[in-house]
Amino acid sequence: MLSSFSNIFWLGTKELRALAKDLTMILFIIWSFGFSIYMQSTGAGETVNNAAIGIVDEDQSQLSRSIAGLFYPPYFQTVKTISAADIDRAMDEGLYTFIIVIPPGFEKDTRKGRDTEIQVNVDATASQQASLGAGYIQNMVTNEIDRYRKDFEATTGRSSDLAIRRAFNPDGTQSWFKSIVSLGDELSMLVIILTGAALLREREHGTIEHLLVMPLTAFEIALAKVWANGLVIIVAFACSLLLVVEGALDVPIAGSRGLLMLGTTIYVFAAAAIGIFLGTLARTMAQFALLMMMVVMPMMMLSGGMSPVASQPQWLQYVTWFLPSRHYVSFMQAIVSRGADFTIVWKEFATVLIMGITFLAASLLLFRRSIATTQ
């Protein structure tokens, strides 16, 4: 047992030495945990941000102008007035995501107490921007008309109010969420590439055979790679959390940092185990690259960071349950935003840990067989 520890330790130091001399890898790690996270978190802006909006004002009244004046940056671009004939062309070319059409006589009808209608054309291909933005526009316009009507009638109507409060992120600051998600994405990608490539490189250079004829078990070889590469990534993660996420992006961390690091360590272990697993499956670096893409892309895109897990069809939710990244994004959000404590996240910790152990066990089973068939 003790000797096994010593083997794992010494093999791991070799990994670290090799990595320390690999300038390209180090640059990639810095790029991924620095620049990449910063760009992803700040680049996306707000949920509805800078949306292109046009107005067809056939009324040319005070009211219609005040509606046009409702939209201003950063949520919307400054409103452009276009003619009714241009609507279709402008929409086709994707110049505007929203076009509001105010019919002639709109103000007059409103004053006279008639029912009126405003049309909002939404380019629904613009995904979530479309539905969210449409909701915003609807609210803003309705409120404006209500206000106008009240001013005009000078009567106090009844009002109903929905007070919406966002827990954990009151202003809905996009970067709070995005930074956590992108940390998870970079973690998944780098850990898997690093450990998998470390294994394949040994195989392509024939050093793996050399290791296998020494008194070492496959378990020790694999675990050494996991801890060494994992350590590098965890250090990079900690730096990124401190300097980029908390520093440059100013994201508050509600929960305990210790818990955060513990969770990350468990996840890195699981991701590294997946990397080793893929490394044993692939025969060549080209194959590994493709396998890696097939695993990392779903891990990144279906983790709940890009679109909510709850929106996935039920059958797929069962499938994505097996993605450690889904649990990671979930408990990271819980710790960072909601300030969850161990009692809340321990189940997900355990799930990820078990997944890691399973993948490691599976790779060990395949290990010797895959070496034997490499000719």
Partner: protein
């Protein structure tokens, strides 16, 4: 010196350095034409560098090299003469494409050198006939033996009838029979074309003695040149090996001849017992019923032609491979991969250098000592002792990668004996090592065997090494032909030496098959006079480009795994994403916190519970519970209804409701907000209508929201068409980058360096097959969107296909660009994936329109081809756009392929550094 027919090459003042290491140090000499020149010297003497420079494959640093009456540093001259030079780099079949067949390789080289199809055909038959490769024309190169690979390499070099043939260690690692055949070929060739000059570097002194002219090199300097006789005269030695030793400055007179003390017969149990060992790979039997017994302290030599099963046998003895049949006992117990205790008693050295190149000599030794559980102090002691013993003192702190081959092998041996093993298994430990270093190595082995009683099991191609063994075994085609003391083996065939006996045994085993095709063998030289075929084929650049395309395509087709991934992989991911990526709200979990509990409040909440968007959880009892449940993510929304809600509503006064939304996921929170607002509005509108009498009904303003292009506002309509853009980029870029990086890593890139191929021909040639892959992918993915996701293609499919073609060219162009920056496949994969993932997945308008991005993200999006193709694809599918509408995107896309190609051309080196 006697150079009767002038010079084929003049080298003057050439200095070449790799970083700090000086490979050539002010080298000057003339190469006589029409002769066979031999380059001899130990590893790291600078032979390969010099040959690379003469061939024009390496970039000249300092000095001048005139080849065929012009400076080889001049790109124009190089292009003009490279069709007259043939260069065969070091390493078995290093410049051949392993996946494609013998004939296809020959055709590839023929096309590069501008042979017409007809010429090629006759030439291939001719060469293959002369070298005995005719029966194997359809076999993939990877499945040839080492000797055959070298013959094929020679054929490929000869295909264009060169005036200067440069061979870099052509027979290293080749068995004696193949070696003999190889040299016979060269001799035949020179007889038929006496004008041809040959330059060859070799580690075998007996081969050097066949050369007309010799150049002895060491440490990047020329020691002497002249004919063998001239050199013999100058040094007063007869044996070439001794001549070389005598030439080295500061070398003590000839080292004493090495004598092997006789072995004391051992009464102990045999160390290795193999009984009927058999190993099959599929239908192929690599090792066939091999049996032998090796005693303690014995040096047992294992000989055999390339690919005869030596390595496989050794792997079975070490437990790396399980035998299909039979059994092996090592140190008294059966070989078992799980038994670690045996491994502590065995040292193993593989064929290829398998230490960690990025660690220093000392670090490597210490690491292995620790892995064998020597204590810290012991490990350090042992390492220092070995460094001294093996003669590594000068190199102790150098990176293992930077060591010359001979030194590396010594290090490998030191590592193999770090734990004082009883048995050493060495697989071709001296392949490619120069004679002196080999002698030193053997001294160490003999010492281990005789003074420490270590059993040594060693495989080799060198007959003089085999002579030093106590017993040898000769293996061929998986079977052991003979197993005896070397002298007995020679005697059994009445041969003069072991080499002859060896060849006799193999020829006997091969039967009539290997009877040389000598007499009727077609000539190696092109029959027709040069003047009669002056008409070079037209469109040469296109032909060369096409040669690369064809070669790449064939390699790709032979790799079903890569193909499957390229097509099936992207299809599967497409499906998963198509169904998985959605922002449509369903299953929104919420709970009510109802302080009021009146019919009105229940009616309000009814608006939520009846909607299929919301999933109701048990009501909330107090504020603490609400916070906890939000925190644990059990609910995403809490609706708090204040006391007196019902009264207020009935009375018609102002009322208020609070909604608490989990804001952790900002996008999701914004969506939830919209839905809550809608449900609220619905209720309040209904109430105000009911409250007011019909006559005084308040006027209403309806906001009619029309979701264009996607009336139901489902995510699939926008995500579906944009997924192909993402997948095509990621898969194509990586496939492309790896394919070029692979050439660099394996060494086939030499063909590009040493042939008239231009950068553009090479790059586009490699790119074309992937354009095909891309377009097939486009069809598969588009069909998936159409039929499986049910998103109709309203626009012009042909225009979209045109865009896809441009986009494919852009994606592969990016792959090419990445590959010019990287040296290894790993970095290519890394760079390809890491650098493209961000702009492709985040900034290309799939989740968020590019126009709404900010700052750097927006700029990245604008400068990335995926943005334009995503836009096109979404437009073509949902908006029904045609050519006119997509013109801007098409134009933008059309800019990327030439831009990437230009960058790659600028960055790709036409010569090795």
């Amino acid at each position: 010196m006697a150079a009767q027919a002038g010079q084929i090459a003049r080298i003057s003042g050439v200095t070449h350095a790799y970083g700090k290491v000086l490979a050539l140090d002010n080298v000057s000499f003339d190469l006589p034409s029409g002769r066979m020149t031999g380059l001899i010297g130990p590893d790291g003497a600078g032979k390969s560098t010099l040959l690379g420079l003469i061939a024009g494959a390496r970039k000249l640093q300092i000095g001048t090299v005139q080849v065929l009456d012009g400076s080889i540093a001049n790109a124009r001259h190089r292009r003009a003469v490279c069709t007259r030079i043939a260069y065969m780099p070091q390493g078995l079949g290093k410049n051949l494409y392993q996946e494609i067949s013998v004939a296809e390789n020959l055709a590839f080289f023929g096309t590069l050198f501008g042979l017409t199809a007809g010429e090629r055909e006759t030439r291939i038959r001719q060469l293959a006939g002369a070298t005995g490769l005719l029966p194997f024309l359809d076999r993939p190169v990877g499945k040839l033996s080492g000797g055959m690979k070298q013959k094929l390499g020679l054929c490929c070099a000869l295909i264009h009838d060169p005036d200067l043939l440069i061979l870099d260690e052509p027979t290293t690692g080749v068995d004696p029979l193949s070696r003999r055949q190889f040299w016979t070929l060269i001799a035949d060739l020179r007889r038929e074309r006496p004008a041809m000059s040959v330059v060859v570097s070799t580690a075998y002194m007996d081969e050097a003695s066949h050369c007309d002219w010799l150049v002895a090199m060491d440490h990047g300097k020329i020691l002497a040149f002249g004919t063998a006789d001239e050199l013999r005269e100058a040094t007063g030695e007869q044996d070439l090996e001794s001549v070389f030793v005598a030439l080295q400055p500061g070398q003590k007179s000839k080292q004493e001849r090495f004598v092997i003390p006789p072995r004391k017969p051992s009464a102990e149990e045999p160390v290795i017992v193999a009984k009927g060992l058999t190993r099959r790979f599929g239908n192929f039997t690599a090792v066939d019923r091999v049996s032998f017994t090796i005693e303690k302290g014995e040096i047992f030599g294992f000989l055999g032609s390339n690919g005869c099963g030596k390595t496989t046998t050794m792997k079975m003895l070490t437990g790396l491979l399980a035998p299909s049949e039979g059994q092996a006992e090592v140190c008294g117990s059966p070989v078992d991969a799980k038994d670690l205790s045996i491994r502590r008693r065995v040292g193993f050295m593989t064929q290829s250098f398998s230490l960690y190149g990025e660690l220093t000599v000392r670090q490597n030794l210490l690491l292995h000592a620790r892995l064998f559980h020597l204590s810290k102090a012991n490990a350090a002691d042992r390492s220092e002792k070995l460094i001294k013993e093996v003669g590594l003192t000068d190199y102790a702190d150098a990176d293992a990668n930077s060591l010359p081959l001979g030194v590396r092998q010594r290090l490998s041996l030191a590592v193999a004996i770090v734990h004082d093993p009883e048995l050493l298994i060495l697989d071709e430990p001296t392949s490619g090592v120069d004679p002196q270093a080999r002698d030193e190595f053997w001294r160490l082995l003999v010492d281990l065997s005789r003074s420490r009683n270590v059993t040594i099991f060693v495989s080799t191609h060198f007959m003089n090494e085999a002579m030093r063994c106590d017993r040898i075994s000769l293996m061929h085609a998986g079977r052991v032909l003979v197993c005896d003391a070397p002298d007995n083996v020679i005697a059994s065939k009445n041969g003069a030496d072991l080499e002859e006996a060896f060849i006799a045994y193999i020829e006997e085993a091969e039967g009539s098959r290997s009877a040389p095709a000598a007499q009727e063998a077609p000539s190696l030289v092109r029959q027709e006079a040069r003047a009669t075929s002056p008409a070079r084929p037209r469109f040469l650049p296109l032909r060369r480009l096409f040669a690369y395309t064809q070669c790449e395509m064939l390699s790709l087709m032979r790799d079903p795994v890569r193909l499957a991934f390229a097509f099936l992989g992207s299809f599967i991911i497409m499906l998963i994403f198509g169904f998985g990526l959605s922002n449509d709200v369903t299953n929104l979990t919420y709970a009510a916190f109802d302080h009021d509990n009146t019919p009105e409040s229940r009616a309000y909440l009814g608006g939520f519970s009846s909607s299929h968007y919301f999933t109701e959880r048990s009501p909330i009892q107090n504020v603490q519970a609400m916070e906890d449940r939000l925190k644990s993510n059990e609910i995403e929304l809490a609706i708090e209804i204040p006391p007196n809600f019902g009264r207020m509503v009935k009375r018609g006064s102002d009322w208020q409701v609070s909604a608490w939304i989990d804001g952790a996921n900002t996008t999701r929170a914004a969506t939830i907000e919209g839905y809550v607002q809608q449900a609220h509005d619905l209720f309040s509108e209904q109430r105000s209508r009911e409250a007011s009498t019909p006559s005084t009904s308040d006027p209403t303003t309806t906001l009619q929201v029309r979701y264009r292009y996607n009336p139901t506002a489902e995510s699939i309509y926008s995500i579906g068409p944009s997924l192909p853009a993402m997948l095509m980029m990621m898969f194509l870029a990586i496939l492309m980058a790896v394919s070029v990086a692979r050439e660099k890593e394996i060494g086939t890139i030499t063909n590009f360096y040493a042939t008239p191929t231009t950068r553009l021909e090479f790059l586009i040639g490699k790119q074309v097959p992937y354009l095909g892959v891309g377009m097939i992918n486009f069809v598969i993915l588009t069909a998936t969107v159409l039929f499986l996701f049910g998103v109709p293609l309203k626009g012009n499919g042909m225009v979209l296909a045109l865009g896809a073609l441009l986009y494919t060219a852009a994606a592969t162009g990016y792959g090419l660009f990445i590959s010019t920056l990287t040296k290894s496949q790993v970095t290519a994969v890394f760079a390809g994936a890491v650098l493209s993932m961000l702009p492709t997945m985040q900034f290309s308008g799939m989740m968020q329109p590019v126009s709404t991005l900010e700052g750097g993200a927006r700029l990245m999006g604008r400068l990335w081809p995926t943005t334009y193709y995503t836009h096109m694809s979404v437009g073509a599918f949902t908006k029904g756009l045609g050519l006119g509408d997509m013109m801007t995107d098409l134009l933008a896309l059309a800019l990327f392929p030439p831009a990437f190609l230009m960058l790659s051309v600028m960055l790709l080196k036409k010569q090795e550094k």
